[in-house]
């Protein structure tokens, strides 16, 4: 089976620094791939290229086997590539449904000529996607600022799901969460996987990775230094690969 999303030899430089160096990787539908690596290894930069934030200096990105040019985050979104960033990227001053619909607001015609925000529709749809994912948020009219870390993460995930992600990218989804909330998010990831979504997850938490991932990609100094099936490796081996003490055998 071909990858749903794939990179072939992509490179990104910031001035003299090569943040991502000739990385090839891919994700199958219904598969969770974890990207691991030390701080500054280039994980975030790699996924920012896949989500259209950075343009690769070299290499290609393929969606469903077809090469494509991602000029902006909007291009990636239009192609079903949804990303949840380390900092979540929610507008804290807006409410839950406004965030789920941010940039893609539903409007309705009023007085024949005016396009008015259709808050009623957006709230209803937001409620239904939250219910589907069994996420509890008391009021969708509350601003994001008033929510807990887990609830925010859940809102970010719901947004991606609502917009029919084919590929979901998550940068450190559990980093800022309490234990119960971490479990909740991991359960969400597992349920998304069964829906055939290809998931890329960046995490420093070894436990998370072994809990939900099928495959692990280890990055070091911008390079993809190893790929392991979770079922065939151990946390010790992965840690060794991350810090570079383990000899690399591909």
């Amino acid at each position: 089976m071909g990858y749903i999303i794939e990179t072939r030899g992509i490179t990104k430089r910031f001035g003299g620094l090569t943040a991502v160096d000739n990385v090839s990787m891919g994700v199958n539908a219904g598969e969770v791939v974890a990207i691991l690596g030390d701080n500054g290894a280039g994980k975030s930069t790699l996924i920012k290229m896949i989500s259209g934030v950075h343009k690769p200096d070299e290499g290609t990105i393929l969606l469903d086997g077809k090469p494509m040019k991602l000029e902006s985050p909007m291009d990636a979104l239009a192609n079903g590539i949804e990303t949840i960033y380390q900092d979540l990227a929610l507008a804290e001053n807006l409410n839950v449904s406004s965030n789920i619909f941010l940039g893609r607001e539903k409007t309705k015609r009023s007085l024949g000529v005016l396009n008015v925000l259709d808050h009623e529709y957006m709230q209803k749809e937001s409620r239904s996607v939250l219910d589907r994912l069994e996420i509890e948020i008391p009021s969708l009219k509350n601003t994001i600022r008033t929510l807990s870390g887990g609830q925010r993460q859940a809102v970010a995930i719901s947004r991606s799901i609502y917009w029919q992600a084919k590929v979901l990218i998550m940068d450190e989804p559990t980093a800022a969460l309490g234990i119960a909330e971490q479990k909740k998010v991991l359960d969400l990831v597992k349920s998304l996987k069964t829906q055939g979504i290809g998931i890329i997850i960046i995490s420093h938490q070894m436990y998370d990775v072994f809990e939900v991932a099928d495959r692990i990609i280890v990055m070091r100094r911008g390079q993809n230094v190893a790929t392991r099936m979770v079922s065939e490796t151990t946390a010790d081996e992965i840690v060794g690969l991350i810090v570079g003490s383990e000899t690399v055998k591909r």
Binding site: P73, A91, E92, L94
Partner: protein, 363 residues
């Protein structure tokens, strides 16, 4: 059972109670009402329809500039150029009317052309500062400060130094200061213009209601209220100020949006400038001491906006303008020295920022 050391420790802080939130959210409105009650006693003739009407009429320019500043401040920016863009539009509109007048062109046409020129020229500084802010990442303070100087320079050139541009059609101030209703008690009632049998110098015998400026104010406030609170454009304005990265990653074309915001702000300043021509009958440059831009920012902040962005409302800004306008009028009528007003504005601003810190969730 041991008594708690500090009895307040266990109770909700006042700012989180419903009363606290209500007061915090609407403090400027309560302040406005309180001020009006006090001035009703201290200022003879303060608490009268005609005076209130006058306060709002004289605040027309402040209202337009505050609407402009509201949009910019919600995005996390500031527009320091509004006062001088206003002066530019005012003098350019007047200069064009005077020049066309000397060619013998009919009044209606030259008024329309002068007005259009005044409105259109205002888009230029907005376009430039917007582009500087959005594409060249120049801080809004600096970008609009540049336009502040440039517009003022061009304006003074148009005025040959410090001479207001006179010699405009006399119909202008009659339009700018006209009323919908003229009532001569027990004698007559006319619409749009005073009855002919009353000469200009006896115009004070008439009860004049609803100045034309109210129509302009009403239309501008309604249109921009709609844009800010009901449209996608408004939603994106809040998102940009709330979390710039979130807006970019949600696919909003932030650069374009910001250019539009600064053009919108500038356009409203231009509208204020053209209105100024209609109100005074001459083309006025903006003096440095007027500080329109700072009073507009003050009104918006008193109205609940935050200079950090993401927060602010049209209605709040209008309350802010009224607070400043009533303060000025009421203190003057009460015979208080003018410098007190500046002190009061300073205190209010500080208070507004403290309230903003205490109630980060209030919108």
């Amino acid at each position: 059972m041991p008594r708690p050391l500090m009895p307040h420790d266990t109770s909700t802080p006042f700012v989180q109670t419903n009363t606290g939130k209500l007061l915090g959210r609407h403090w400027a409105l309560f302040f406005l009402l309180g001020m009006m009650v006090i001035f009703a006693f201290t200022g003879p003739g303060f608490f009268e329809v005609v005076n209130f009407q006058n306060i709002i009429h004289l605040a027309t320019i402040s209202i337009l500039l505050a609407v402009a500043e509201t949009f910019v401040i919600i995005t996390g920016g500031i527009d320091l150029s509004v006062g001088f863009v206003m002066g530019l539009s005012s003098t350019l509109a007047a200069r064009i009317m005077v020049t066309l007048g000397s060619t013998g062109m009919g009044e209606p046409l030259l008024i329309v052309l002068g007005t259009l020129a005044g409105l259109l020229v205002a888009f230029i500084p907005g376009f430039i500062s917007g582009t500087l802010v959005a594409r060249f990442k120049v801080p809004p303070f600096i970008a609009t400060l540049g336009m502040w100087g440039i517009c003022n320079g061009i304006t003074l050139h148009l005025c040959d130094g410090f001479l207001p541009i006179a010699g405009l059609p006399s119909v202008l101030p009659r339009l700018g200061n006209g009323y919908l209703f003229y009532i001569h008690k027990g004698q007559s009632f006319t619409l749009f213009k005073k009855p002919d049998y009353i000469p200009d110098e006896r115009v004070r015998e008439l009860i004049r209601l609803v100045p034309f400026s109210f129509i302009l104010i009403g239309a501008v406030v309604l249109v921009f209220w709609f844009i800010l609170h009901k449209s996608r454009f408004g939603q994106h304005t809040y998102a940009i100020g709330g979390n710039l990265d979130a807006a970019i990653r949600a696919g909003i074309d932030v650069d374009r949006h910001l250019v539009k915001i600064y053009m919108l702000s500038s356009f409203l300043a231009g509208l204020a400038g053209v209105f100024n021509v209609f109100q005074t009958g001459i083309g006025n440059y903006t003096t440095f001491s007027s500080m329109y831009e700072l009073f507009a920012v003050a009104a918006v902040v008193i109205g609940g906006a935050s200079l950090l962005g993401g927060k602010g409302r049209i209605v709040g800004s209008m309350v802010g303008v009224l607070v400043l306008a009533v303060l000025k009028n009421g203190l003057a009528i009460s015979g208080v020295q003018p410098f007190v007003r500046y002190i009061a504005v300073g205190v209010l601003l500080t208070f507004a920022v403290i309230i903003d810190q205490l109630f980060p969730d209030l919108f």
